[in-house]
Symmetry: C2
Subunit: 106 residues, 2 copies
C-alpha cells in the first residue's frame, strides 16, 4: 500500500513523465511516437515508460514489433483520493483516515 502511493507520486514527480501521460490522454501510442517530441533519447523515454508502467499508470501491450502504451487513469485514483482527503478533512471520518495513514507505514 505504501509502495503503491510511493511509486505513483514518484512517477508523477517528473515533468517528462507527466507530459507522456498527457499525450496518452489523447490516444494510445507506440513507444517511438511517445518519444518523438522529446529531446531525450528513445532509451530514456523507454525507461520513463517503465517507471510509469511499474506504477500502474500506463500499460503496455506488444502487437507485432510495436509496443502500444495505454493510459490507466484508474491508477491515479488512490493518490488522488489520498490528496483530496487533506482538502476535505472536516467533511470526512478523520479517525478512519488516520488509521489508514498509520497502516500505510508498515
Amino acid at each position: 500500500m505504501a509502495d503503491q502511493l510511493d511509486s505513483t507520486f514518484a512517477a508523477l514527480a517528473d515533468p517528462t513523465r507527466r507530459a507522456i501521460l498527457a499525450m496518452l490522454l489523447e490516444d494510445d501510442m507506440a513507444v517511438t511516437d511517445v518519444a518523438e517530441p522529446f529531446e531525450m533519447s528513445l532509451a530514456a523515454i523507454s525507461k520513463h515508460l517503465g517507471v510509469l508502467t511499474a506504477a500502474g499508470l500506463v500499460s503496455q501491450e506488444k502487437r507485432g514489433r510495436v509496443k502500444w502504451c495505454k493510459l490507466e487513469p484508474d491508477a491515479l485514483r488512490g493518490a488522488s483520493v489520498w490528496m483530496q482527503g487533506f482538502g476535505q478533512m472536516d467533511a470526512i471520518d478523520l479517525d478512519a483516515f488516520e488509521a489508514f495513514l498509520a497502516k500505510e507505514l508498515d
Copy 2:
C-alpha cells in the same frame, strides 16, 4: 508551475513525509514532537520537514526556540487540479474517498 508540481509530488512520494502530513492534520506541532514517533534521527525529520516546507505543504513559524509546523492543505490544490485533467476524479468525491478507505482498511 512544472517546478511546483515536481516538488509537490516528490514530497508526497515518501511514506515518512506522508505520515508527517497526517500528524499535522491533527494539530500544529513542534519539530521535536513531529520526530518523536519515528525511528529516524531528529535531524532526518528536520530535513523531511524542509522538503515539505519547500513544496509549500507545511509552513514553519518560530516562536521562542520552538518551531511550529503547520499543514498547508491548499498547496495540494495544484497537484489535485492536474490530476483532475485525467478525469478520474470529480472535484469533490467523498463517496470514492470513503470507499477507498473501507477497501484499504481491511
